[in-house]
């Protein structure tokens, strides 16, 4: 009886892990199929793109055509620059704000925190007009700064870092103080190194969001000097007449290639940091 049940549980564990693996494969296939389709479409001419005939010849014409339709090098540089500026500023602001909210006692701290959380519930698109007015007053229309500024005080980032800092043992903080460190030195030497996984996870979320952001950059930029790749890509979508899937796919691949490459290279770190940071 006992042997049987042990066998039974071993079998059920096996069955469980097998079904887990199966589910993982199904999800992975679902996730990657649009990417694979895009690759397929980008390598074939118009009609072959939607027929799935393996004998169709493969060509790079679409990439050539897409590359010529828009100054992609410039657009990619713009995207890279504005996303980097934004990320650095975000990390700086969110670290300081998160630290203050987690460890510095001041009156109205909770009110401030609730106000920041409220920001999470406002869709950024609603604020386009207000943000534009402000950026225009600063004279920062059509610049990297204009693209980045409204997103620097990220409520999500502040919240995430506050939670992380709060979870750190008070003893470490006290020990550092006994060693004679000031509040800023404690932040830099104790908190920031321990929060590395959170930083990585947040950086990924921020970079992928802003890499793909479209409407705000379109509104606030006017020229090739600052327009990011998503705006350049929009030239291929043609709502009134339908879409050339081959060229569109090629253009999209060009746009997301750097992001994909970063993800593949840092895949392991990203996974680990997501698990430890607890964002699922």
């Amino acid at each position: 009886m006992s042997i049987n049940s042990a066998k039974g549980s071993a079998a059920s564990i096996k069955w469980f892990s097998a079904s887990n693996t199966l589910a993982a494969w199904v999800l992975a296939l679902l996730w990657i199929s649009p990417l694979l389709y895009m690759l397929w479409a980008s390598l074939h001419t118009g009609s072959a793109a939607i027929t799935f005939d393996l004998s169709e010849p493969i060509s790079l014409d679409n990439f050539q055509q897409a590359w010529q339709m828009a100054p992609f090098t410039r657009y990619l540089i713009n995207t890279f620059a504005s996303v980097s500026i934004l990320l650095i500023a975000q990390l700086l602001v969110c670290t300081l704000a998160g630290y203050a909210l987690a460890r510095v006692k001041f009156t109205g701290r909770n009110v401030v925190f609730v106000l920041i959380l409220l920001q999470l519930m406002v869709m950024p698109e609603i604020l386009i007009s207000e943000n534009y007015q402000f950026i225009a007053q600063l004279g920062a229309v059509d610049s990297y700064l204009g693209i980045a500024l409204p997103y620097i005080a990220s409520a999500f980032g502040i919240f995430l870092l506050r939670q992380t800092f709060k979870q750190m043992p008070q003893e470490l903080h006290d020990a550092a103080r006994i060693e004679g460190l000031g509040p800023l030195a404690i932040l830099v030497k104790v908190y920031v190194p321990l929060a590395k996984p959170t930083y990585l996870a947040y950086a990924l979320v921020s970079v992928s969001y802003h890499w793909n952001n479209f409407l705000w950059p379109l509104v606030i930029t006017n020229t090739e000097a600052s327009r990011p790749v998503t705006v350049g890509l929009a030239l291929f979508g043609s709502p009134e007449t339908g879409v050339d899937w081959g060229v569109l796919s090629a253009g999209t691949l060009i746009a997301i290639a750097p992001l994909l490459a970063i993800f593949l290279i840092f895949q392991r770190q990203f996974m680990q940091s997501f698990m430890t940071a607890g964002i699922k």
């Binding site: 009609s47 939607i50 007009s129 534009y132 007015q133 929009a234 979508g237 709502p239 009134e240 339908g242």
Partner: protein, 426 residues
């Protein structure tokens, strides 16, 4: 750069030196609604204008699709950035006028030449641009719906490729003959496809006009979504798939329809004339283009973008913007734009230009949309246009996928639209 110059003008240099030397600088936003490197075509037209007007310089800025362009223009106007004119969706007129951001062209039209210019446009294209006896938008990239058909398929089915169907009854019969099935009785090629995503209200505007109905009143405060004639038009659309089985059931994607037609997945399609150049370029078969068939009468709504003049900038800049619009809508430019896109030339004078005469000799299909203009009607444009449009879109789609019968779906759209529009009636 601009701000620097303003600053220099304001503080460092004397006022007179600035006003003498500075060219009038204009900013114009435009949406690109059709694929391809059209930004280059626009840039070329602007360059020509600047050549003729050395004292005016124009920044023409690509601003996404119609929706993005409207958001961008409104944000810029509110933020006090200079933008004197834009090409925006023709059906946004009432909303823009309501917000007080556009000026009527009547403020600028003074000389007899200007009056002749304003009267030169096809009347059907002006319907979405006029309100309260004033003109707020002038046509630039305008379209109608036309029927593209595969002449080779007509021949193979024993039909005369020069006689496309002109009535609903003929359309049903012709489409039925064009359906091709394989040995397993699966449909290989459909007879007809009418797209029902993206802009279903637009296609429906054609069907209702053909059935003798208009979807809204001229002042945009009343809608007519559930009269017997309108319901009958939706029933006809539904019957094409359910009863006649010449069209796939459910909804048909707007974005992939052109590809489906080129792939010969359907022998006929209804689509924007803005597609013409791309279809002719990519088709591997003989393409025919015809006016839409009629039931009580013929008809199609117009569509596309108009030029607007914003209340923004100095009087001198606005005058310059008016000059720019006159240039962009002149016969030569309109002809050029029509050739590269398939959009309708905006005036009969455009079709008298040498370049368009030559072109239409080679490509007679390009004349269909123009000839159809005499049967054309305004595109659905009401106050709170976006919301009202969505109500109708949802009703059409829910009927096409069989969630609700046409009458019930349209009744509820009418009731919803009534609630929104009531406060706009005086």
């Amino acid at each position: 750069m601009l701000t620097l110059r303003k600053w220099l003008c304001g503080t460092v240099l004397s006022v007179s030196a600035c006003s003498v030397n500075a060219a009038t600088e204009l900013t114009m936003y435009y949406p690109v609604a059709v694929g391809g490197p059209l930004t280059e075509v626009v840039d070329g037209m602007i360059e020509k204008f600047e050549g003729q007007h050395p004292d005016i310089s124009v920044n023409a800025i690509y601003a996404g699709n119609y929706n993005d362009a409207r958001i961008k223009a409104l944000a810029a106007l509110k933020g006090g950035e200079p933008v004197q004119t834009s090409v925006l969706f023709s059906i946004d007129m009432l909303e823009l006028k309501d917000m007080g951001v556009i000026r009527p062209f009547d403020d600028f039209v003074k000389t007899p030449e200007d009056k002749a210019w304003l009267n030169s446009f096809y009347p059907a294209l002006m319907e979405n641009g006029q309100s309260e006896q004033k003109t707020w938008g002038v046509p630039f990239q305008r379209s109608t719906i036309v029927m593209y058909y595969n002449k080779d398929a007509f021949r193979a089915a024993g039909l005369d490729p020069e006689k496309p169907p002109t009535t609903w009854q003929a359309l049903r019969k012709t489409a039925a003959k064009l359906v091709k099935k394989n040995s397993a009785a699966e449909v290989e090629r459909w007879g007809l496809m009418i797209p029902s995503t993206g802009y279903p209200y637009w296609m429906f505007g054609a069907l209702t006009k053909q059935n003798g109905e208009r979807l809204m009143s001229a002042d945009g405060t009343q809608v007519n979504f559930n009269s017997p004639g309108t319901v009958e038009a939706l029933q006809f659309w539904l019957d094409l798939s359910n009863k006649d089985q010449v069209m796939p059931k459910g909804t048909i994607e707007w974005g992939t329809l052109r590809q489906n037609f080129l792939e010969q997945k359907t022998a006929m399609m209804w689509h924007s004339t803005g597609n013409l150049t791309a279809v002719l370029k990519n088709a591997t078969f003989d393409v025919g283009v015809a006016q839409l068939p009629g039931n009580i009468e013929q008809g199609s709504p117009t569509g596309g973008g108009n030029f607007y003049l914003f209340r923004n900038g100095s009087e001198q800049e606005q005058q310059a913007a008016f000059e720019l619009i006159k240039f962009m809508t002149s016969p030569e430019q309109s002809a050029q734009w029509s050739k590269t896109t398939g959009y309708v030339g905006v005036s009969s004078a455009a079709y008298d230009t040498e370049s368009l005469i030559d072109y239409t000799k080679k490509v007679p299909q390009a004349l269909v949309a123009r000839d159809q203009l005499e049967h054309a009607t305004a595109e659905l444009a009401t106050y709170q246009a976006g919301r009202v449009r969505k109500m109708l879109d949802d009703a059409i789609q829910s009927a096409l996928i069989g969630q609700q019968p046409p009458k019930a779906a349209l009744d509820s759209a009418q009731a919803q639209a009534e609630r929104v529009l009531r406060k706009h009636r005086s």
